[in-house]
Symmetry: C2
Subunit: 198 residues, 2 copies
């Protein structure tokens, strides 16, 4: 799931994870400082630049990217572990990360882009988030057009005008994708067994 | 939407159409006799073999097939009209029709296969439907394995153990497919306009 900063993606992610216990959140590693209220290991794994570079070198990241002056990445091990247990994994990442993940995961990645309903609400949400300095807000606003421009690289687009409606739409996407034939393990066996009993 | 006879596809279709007024049912033409309770123009257009052959010759059918001794086909004109109005069209057809439709409609066709939960419920539903002669029931039972064998040609598979649950799953598929980027007309313009206001 990607969106420009301020489109409400993080709120949507949290609600989705609270409602559906079969999804694990992929917790990114980052070299940026924690914002007030952010918890290490929950919102991000806050690590040093040295450790980040070590993870790159050891191929422990599924994807990584630099955003402004900070590095962000997706650790591979927790994703492999969750998928092996039959769990789904939610990636709360930007378009750069999505492009790399799409290469790593191919058909198994479902890409959802969250759009704000209009420019004003994006601006308002960025300002009232209030934990970033005005410099950071200005930077994120300046970045928004470029982030928006990547919407067409996604499989699904959800306009977040109302958070409950947007959540219901994301849940429908998840429900549908789980019903895809190719994702339903054991169907072959199920149909074969039924056929023998007809 | 396809399924072997007796998997509950027709009940699901009716509920879906009752709940969502933006879907039109594609009413097939057929040369078979109407069953008790079936309404001409609603369940099928019951037509003669001559008229059916004329429709084939005039290319007025999107697909057609012979099932047992009867011909079934999908008239093209109502589908074109509904799609032009931005409506979705539900096709309640078998695997032969689906294969032909997939060629005619390409990416715009979403294929859903409905499976019965087990062999016994398929048998029970076929027998208790009670409008077919025992010969027809026997024929349909004999056909079921072949119909089932085509499940892997579909995008989605729904197991109809509980009709409300199966309906919710079909609705989720429909909701998700409408959220596909490629189906959301006007998104380019929407994003372009927003970007100019940032």
């Amino acid at each position: 799931m990607s969106s420009p900063s301020g489109a409400g993606k993080t709120t949507l992610s949290r609600k989705l994870l609270a409602d559906d216990k079969n999804i694990s959140l992929s917790v990114s590693v980052t070299t940026r400082k924690a914002r007030t209220g952010e918890v290490d290991g929950k919102d991000y794994h806050f690590i040093t630049k040295d450790r980040f570079e070590q993870m790159i070198a050891r191929r422990e990241l599924l994807e990584w990217a630099q955003v402004f002056d900070n590095l962000y990445g997706t650790p591979k091990a927790p994703v492999d572990a969750a998928l092996a247990e039959g769990r789904d994994v939610l990636f709360d990442i930007d378009w750069q990360g999505t492009q790399q993940l799409a290469q790593a995961m191919e058909d198994d990645l479902v890409r959802v882009f969250i759009l704000p309903p209009d420019a004003d609400s994006l601006r308002t949400r960025l300002i009232t988030r209030n934990q970033d300095s005005s410099t950071v807000v200005a930077k994120r606003m300046a970045e928004a057009p470029r982030e928006l421009s990547h919407w067409a690289e996604y499989d699904y687009v959800v306009v977040n005008a109302d958070v409950d409606r947007a959540l219901a739409q994301v849940v429908a996407i998840l429900t549908a994708e789980r019903l895809r034939r190719k994702r339903q393990i054991g169907l072959s066996e199920f149909v074969r067994e039924m056929t023998t009993k007809l």
